[in-house]
């Protein structure tokens, strides 16, 4: 097998997986030993959501090298399609597990398709333009979801952007999405165990992609697009691939998120620009391109304000400062020069680690 040859990579991957599993075991132990407050237990599923989002955004920012500010938009697509599906099939599919699995697939695929469709025009752009267009896209999604009404009756599915009356449904029909009120009564199927499994699946997909031939092509495009093109790498194809996978994984996070709440609404707080920024902070703090780092950053930055209650008011401020300081320290040519001058060894050690992850 090829894996034996790349033992360093394999070891690094195994550490990443092991870390997740160890966390799971510790948390389960703490729950069994009654050492965890209800508040903390309620935080477990959102934590999984953030970890998945951070890993998937890192695929776009770190591996593909493009800044997406619309990640919350893809999450929103995944959340709403899957929640609508779960609600619509509440009676027809009896097994909750099967229903969740199908909802998961639908959410991920829909978000992936959106990522693909958005990616076609958007990935022709670069840097700043791409960032602003993805941001615009996220806002559009949020706006549309807020005016969308969907209902199901014996005639099929009805859509409207006006109000519930305009759906024109038969008396026995069921309203699934009611505009700004969102979706109510989604089955609460997300558990910490499912979250951890989804994190492992996400990691599996992303890590395997990164270390595959496709992943190397994607990173070649990131490092030098023109050089990559000149050796015959199909830039559009690989960019789209990475972007669609990243969007699909954000959709998975959305599914998990949606099935953790009984009422799902598209507010600026959960699917807006701020959410996209928050995920970006995880990625930046954990190290751009470092999958394991972004997972750890997501966990630390979510737990820290909860553990230190007094910090909660300053959480957003903290995020902002983290973002600026991390960027200045890591990317400013002067800071890099200083670091290299004063601690040559540490830099080399770190450089190696970054390549592995």
């Amino acid at each position: 097998m090829e894996k034996k040859k790349m033992s360093k990579t394999t070891r690094s991957n195994l550490i990443t997986y092991g870390l997740v599993i160890a966390c799971y075991l510790i948390v389960q132990g703490m729950i069994a030993g009654d050492m965890m407050s209800n508040l903390m237990q309620g935080l477990l599923v959102p934590l999984c959501v953030y970890v998945i989002l951070a890993v998937s955004l890192n695929l776009t920012v770190g591996i593909l090298g493009e800044l997406s500010l619309g990640h919350a938009g893809f999450m929103c697509v995944g959340a709403f399609t899957s929640a609508a599906f779960s609600k619509a099939t509440m009676e027809s599919i009896e097994s909750a597990g099967l229903r969740f699995f199908l909802a998961l697939l639908i959410g991920a695929v829909c978000a992936g398709i959106f990522g693909f469709l958005i990616g076609i025009p958007v990935l022709r752009l670069k840097g700043d333009y791409l960032a602003i267009v993805t941001l615009a896209f996220g806002e559009i999604i949020k706006n549309i979801v807020n005016v969308l009404y969907v209902g199901v009756d014996s005639n099929g599915i009805h859509f409207s952007t006006k109000d519930m009356m305009a759906l024109g449904m038969e008396p026995g029909g069921k309203v699934i999405i009611s505009g700004a009120m969102g979706i109510t009564g989604t089955p609460k199927a997300s558990t910490f165990t499912i979250g951890i499994i989804l994190i492992l699946v996400t990691l599996f997909i992303v890590l395997n992609l990164v270390h595959s031939r496709d992943g190397r092509a994607i990173m070649a495009i990131r490092d030098n697009r023109i050089a990559a093109e000149s050796i015959g790498i199909n830039v559009t194809k690989y960019k789209l691939k990475a972007f669609a996978i990243s969007a699909g994984l954000a959709g998975v996070a959305g599914v998990l998120y949606a099935h953790n709440l009984s009422t799902l609404t598209a507010l600026p707080k959960n699917f807006g620009y701020n959410m996209s920024i928050m995920i970006l902070v995880f990625v930046v703090l954990g190290g751009i391109g470092n999958i394991r780092g972004s997972m750890i950053a997501a966990v630390v930055l979510t737990l820290l304000p909860e553990l230190l209650r007094g910090l909660n008011d300053y959480r957003m401020l903290l995020y902002a400062i983290v973002l600026i300081v991390m960027m200045l320290l890591n990317w400013s040519p002067k800071a890099i020069e200083l670091r290299e001058r004063y601690s040559l060894k540490r830099i080399f050690g770190r450089g190696k680690k970054e390549k592995e992850a």
Binding site: I132, E139, V147, M316, Y319
Partner: protein
């Protein structure tokens, strides 16, 4: 008549966007970076004016002047502290992410100082409304002042760039930083001045925006900032008349979208325009075509 009044309020909103977009386009043209925090400087301008007028009871003229001074200083500080160290960074994403961080920082500082509640902003413009067609068409003083200041600022800015030495230096820096430096232009100072002008314009835009739409929150600036960027892209980024045309167009589009299509979808329409423009003609209507070099 309602069409005309929509058109006028569209032009008024568009003038605000145009003033913001002028700041964006200058900074983008010269520093080659998207200043995400530009929209939040608008908010800072609004809050400074609010504090001066409602909190300290200063006359509006002094308040506006103070807002302009504070924002100018803020712009220069932001540039010096957060953007300058990253100007030659290996990844173009670095400065963009920092800019997002600065934007976030300003928003949350305002949130900590003023709280999340909406502040009602008392208009600082004391110009009587203009009544046309026997009172059927009313143009408010705010609208008049906004449109006039938009046009005035554009003319001044064009003259400044064409006629003054600093303006010419800005053009040179935007063309080629290295060559400009060789010709004895202080690139850092020029970029700093650009940020100062951009932020001063943002302060004025903030006052005008809050006078026309008198509610002020820490997030007031974010949306207009992004829309103004859309306007700058639409007009062709780096082009001053382009930013103005783009701003007016976008303002009209937004008001018409709100009035005739759906009030909730207006933002979506504006952003859809951005996507279409970027896909069809990424350089905008007045932008220059820049060949990518290896």
């Amino acid at each position: 008549m309602s069409f005309l009044s929509y058109l006028i309020s569209g032009i008024s909103l568009g003038s605000v966007y145009a003033i913001i977009a002028l700041g964006y386009t200058m900074v983008y043209g010269i520093a080659k970076m998207l200043n995400f925090a530009h929209g939040d400087v608008i908010m800072v301008g609004g809050f400074v004016t609010f504090t001066c007028v409602s909190g300290m009871g200063l006359p509006p003229v002094v308040a506006v002047l103070l807002a302009v001074i504070v924002c100018t200083a803020l712009g220069m500080v932001i540039e010096g502290v957060a953007y300058r160290p990253l100007r030659n960074a290996a990844s173009p994403l670095a400065v963009l992410i920092t800019a997002i961080g600065v934007s976030y920082l300003l928003q949350n500082l305002a949130l900590l100082i003023y709280g999340a509640n909406t502040k009602s902003f008392t208009s600082v413009i004391k110009v009587p409304a203009l009544k046309l067609a026997g009172g059927a068409l009313v143009i408010t003083g705010e609208t008049l002042v906004t449109i006039c200041s938009g046009i005035l600022i554009m003319i001044c800015l064009t003259l400044f760039i064409k006629k003054t030495k600093t303006g010419q230096a800005m053009l040179a820096v935007s063309e080629d930083k290295g060559a400009a430096q060789l010709m004895g232009i202080n690139v850092n100072r020029t970029i700093s001045i650009t940020f100062a002008i951009g932020s001063a314009l943002a302060a004025i835009a903030g006052v005008l925006l809050c006078s026309a739409y008198p509610s002020l929150t820490p997030y007031t600036g974010a949306m207009p900032g992004i829309k103004a960027f859309v306007a700058a892209v639409f007009g062709g980024i780096g082009s001053i008349p382009g930013a103005f045309i783009g701003g007016i167009f976008l303002g009209i589009l937004e008001i018409f979208g709100k009035a005739y299509i759906s009030s909730q979808m207006a933002d979506a329409i504006v952003f859809a325009v951005l996507i279409v423009v970027l896909v069809v003609k990424p350089t905008g209507i007045l932008g220059k075509n820049i060949q990518e070099k290896v």
